[in-house]
């Protein structure tokens, strides 16, 4: 068969399936075949390119053009113009500079925008084809590690890379691995935390949908480093396409001898199974996730013992986020030193974000950890769509609210920590002046109050109290002193709540007070009189009953 002269990559992810991506793909293949170009132009399915508000997206390679908002009706004209007459349909082109992953890194701004690490294959390969993953250096790192490296050397390499957990807390990954690696046990487990549930965050979903083998390879490398023989991917039940593609990838890897017994003849045994979540935000906390995997309510455990000592079924267990594991193959393939050169030295590498809100280009991006919020807004998100920038929430609902004064701080753990902020889980929500701080806080608190698992008092009652406080502020009926009360409450929760969920409201509340105190004061009614304590007590008893 002749080598195809062009490839059309249709981005099929959970968002685009809904709006007809598969129909577009079928129609494309039919039209191209109908013009007798079936042998020259191949139509392939791939993961997300990034944009999440441009309808069905397809790229033509090697031409390097990207079409957006495709519908089956537009296909005949597209095929006629682009493939038969050879001229792109300008009206349907997307401004593609940030969307199409560029392995050659020809970006004029040089050092600042390195090639992608995690998303390098997303939108370029067919996620359901292990051959395409292998052709793009896939499983090279696993082969290299099994042939040339001891497990100890692998842990050291990850340590040297400076990789920090991408789930939100930013704990050094190599150090975490070393805890579990030093344990002696008959069996150890590796868990990939794909219970992504922070509102606004769906980067892990797009990684799994776009390049599932990268996650599998990262887990196998982790298993080899720690001496673990069984891995689990804990995926939330709503992520149907992720579940499908991860399962497919596991099977393909097994068939190719890349999972299972005696991988690549090295004597290393490792297999992976999928666990499906039943819907509880708290299960993103690693010990709650383990409880849930054991078939129990997802209540966080008392630590210590940490999972590295006694995790799943009481055995040493290592839990990492999807994005963290997807970084591992690059580190092993290219070496820790090369990874360390990318981004900010304190948090080397890149970070994947979903950028949303009142901006021109919403979607998935991967940027080095040296870029600032302004870079993201202006270069990647295409600026504000309407109004002017008022604030951004960095890292999902549990993230800090930042105002314009923070636009030039690089987005990495150290630079943000210097300003009293954290990086969070990988969502950036940009908001213009139409969003009122008190309304927004109330929406955040509603989420937390709903998701509090009820295990500990500070979180269970604290969240209800916060909900009530923000509701009053939102209606302009706050009592004098309510803002101070909120601050006191979240700080209390931060220090005594049982798990990170109960500590979460501190970030949005304290940062909102820090940057938007004046606006929040407008929610206070100076004449309102706080009910006498006995009333409050009675109210609390009513709540408790």
């Amino acid at each position: 068969m002749a080598k195809p002269r062009a490839y059309v990559m249709v981005s099929v992810d959970a968002d685009t399936v809904v709006i007809g991506a598969r129909e577009v793909k079928t129609r494309l293949a039919a039209e191209i075949g109908g013009c007798g170009l079936g042998g020259e132009v191949r139509v392939l399915e791939t993961g997300s390119f990034g944009p999440s508000d441009a309808g069905v997206v397809a790229a033509v390679l090697p031409d390097g053009v990207v079409y957006g908002n495709l519908t089956p009706e537009r296909i005949p004209q597209l095929v006629e113009e682009h493939f038969v007459k050879g001229r792109p349909v300008k009206d349907w082109l997307l401004p593609g500079e940030h969307f199409l992953p560029d392995p050659e890194n020809s970006d004029p701004r040089g050092q600042q925008y390195f090639g992608r690490i995690v998303l390098d294959n997303c939108g370029r390969i067919d996620p359901e084809s292990i051959e395409e993953y292998i052709a793009n250096d896939g499983y090279f790192a696993l082969g290299k590690a099994l042939a040339e490296m001891t497990p100890e050397a692998l842990v050291e390499e990850v340590k040297a890379s400076g990789l920090r957990g991408r789930g939100g807390a930013g704990f050094p990954t190599g150090l975490k691995w070393s805890f579990c690696a030093s344990e002696q046990a008959d069996i150890k487990y590796v868990i990939c935390n794909a219970d992504e549930g922070e509102p606004g965050t769906f980067k892990d979903r797009l990684i799994m949908e776009g390049d599932p083998h990268k996650v599998i390879e990262g887990m196998a490398l982790c298993g080899y480093a720690l001496g673990a023989s069984q891995g689990y991917v804990y995926i939330r039940g709503e992520y149907k396409l992720s579940i499908e593609r991860i399962r497919h990838a596991i099977e393909a890897a097994r068939e190719n001898g890349l999972l299972g017994k005696d991988i690549m003849g090295s004597g290393f045994d490792f297999d992976i199974a999928v666990k499906i979540g039943a819907g509880a935000y708290v299960c993103g906390e690693e010990t709650a996730l383990i409880e849930s995997m054991e078939g129990k309510r997802g209540l966080p455990r008392v630590k210590p013992p940490f999972p590295a000592k006694a995790g799943f079924r009481g055995k040493p267990t290592n839990v990492n986020n999807v994005e963290t594991l997807a970084n591992i193959p690059f580190i092993i393939r290219n070496g820790a030193a090369q990874f360390h050169r990318i981004g900010d030295p304190g948090t080397p590498g890149t970070k994947v974000y979903t950028v949303l809100g009142h901006i021109n280009r919403a979607g998935l991006i991967e940027v080095p950890t040296s870029v600032t919020l302004r870079d993201v807004l202006e270069d990647y998100a295409g600026g504000m769509r309407a109004g002017t920038f008022k604030m951004a929430q960095l890292g999902g609902t549990a993230g800090d609210l930042l105002d314009a004064s923070m636009l030039d701080v690089p987005l990495n753990y150290d630079s943000l920590a210097k300003n009293g902020h954290s990086l969070g889980s990988g969502a950036i929500l940009f908001m213009n002046e139409t969003v009122k701080v008190c309304d927004f806080l109330h929406a955040c608190m509603k989420f937390f109050a709903h998701e509090s698992c009820g295990n500990c008092n500070p979180c269970r009652n604290g969240m209800e109290a916060l909900l009530e406080l923000t509701e009053r502020l939102k209606q302009g009926a706050g009592y004098p002193g309510d803002i101070a009360l909120m601050e006191e409450l979240v700080m209390g929760m931060q220090s005594i709540a049982f798990c990170p969920l109960g500590q979460s409201p501190a970030a949005p509340v304290l940062s909102a007070v820090r940057y938007f105190r004046d606006e929040m004061l407008t929610g206070i009614d100076a004449d309102a009189v706080r009910p006498r304590p006995e009333h409050t007590m009675r109210h609390l008893m009513k709540l408790a009953s």
Binding site: S52, G197, Y239, F440, A443
Partner: protein, 163 residues
């Protein structure tokens, strides 16, 4: 879905048999409780106390533990639901883009409150945390179909697709 079936006798026993078969296939151990309950809900449409007792007995667990798990996770419900479940995403992005108005429009249109089921058992209305489909906000999910960029005006047309 099975919960809409009026025949209480023979048809349920078939469903129980299917559940038995599923349980027999699961690897032994405490871990299987959640997958078994997920399957049971898929088969029965909801998890009434009888089904929980049945599962508890089969897996040799106290009913209280099964109940604890059922009430903990959002996916499980003890109330029969309508033929179609409408989930409104109340994630931050959807909220910012007007999810609240969608909720109001839905409850007005169906004449039920949040969490309720229409009298003809056609629809149940619930909310959920972020679906991770923020690019399409505001989003609602009916059964397994996601409807993006919903506006109050579109509601009637979307609902008409479900009988």
């Amino acid at each position: 879905m099975a919960n809409t079936c009026e025949c209480e006798g023979s048809c349920t026993s078939v469903v129980y048999e299917e559940l038995d078969a599923f349980m027999a296939d699961c690897p032994k151990g405490r871990d299987r409780l959640i997958p078994v309950l997920q399957k049971a809900q898929e088969l029965f449409g909801y998890l009434p106390v009888e089904v929980q007792e049945y599962v508890a007995q089969a897996l040799e667990l106290p009913v209280s533990e099964v109940y604890g798990v059922v009430t903990f996770y959002h996916y499980f419900t003890m109330e029969p639901r309508g033929r179609h479940t409408i989930n409104v995403c109340l994630g931050t992005e959807c909220y910012v883009r007007g999810a609240k108005k969608i909720v109001e429009a839905l409850s007005e249109n169906l004449n039920i409150k949040m969490g309720g089921t229409t009298e003809d058992r056609r629809f149940s209305l619930t909310t959920q945390r972020c679906f991770g489909a923020c690019g399409l906000a505001p989003v609602i999910m009916i059964n397994d179909d996601v409807h993006g960029r919903v506006t109050p005006k579109k509601i009637a047309g979307i609902l008409a697709q479900y009988e």
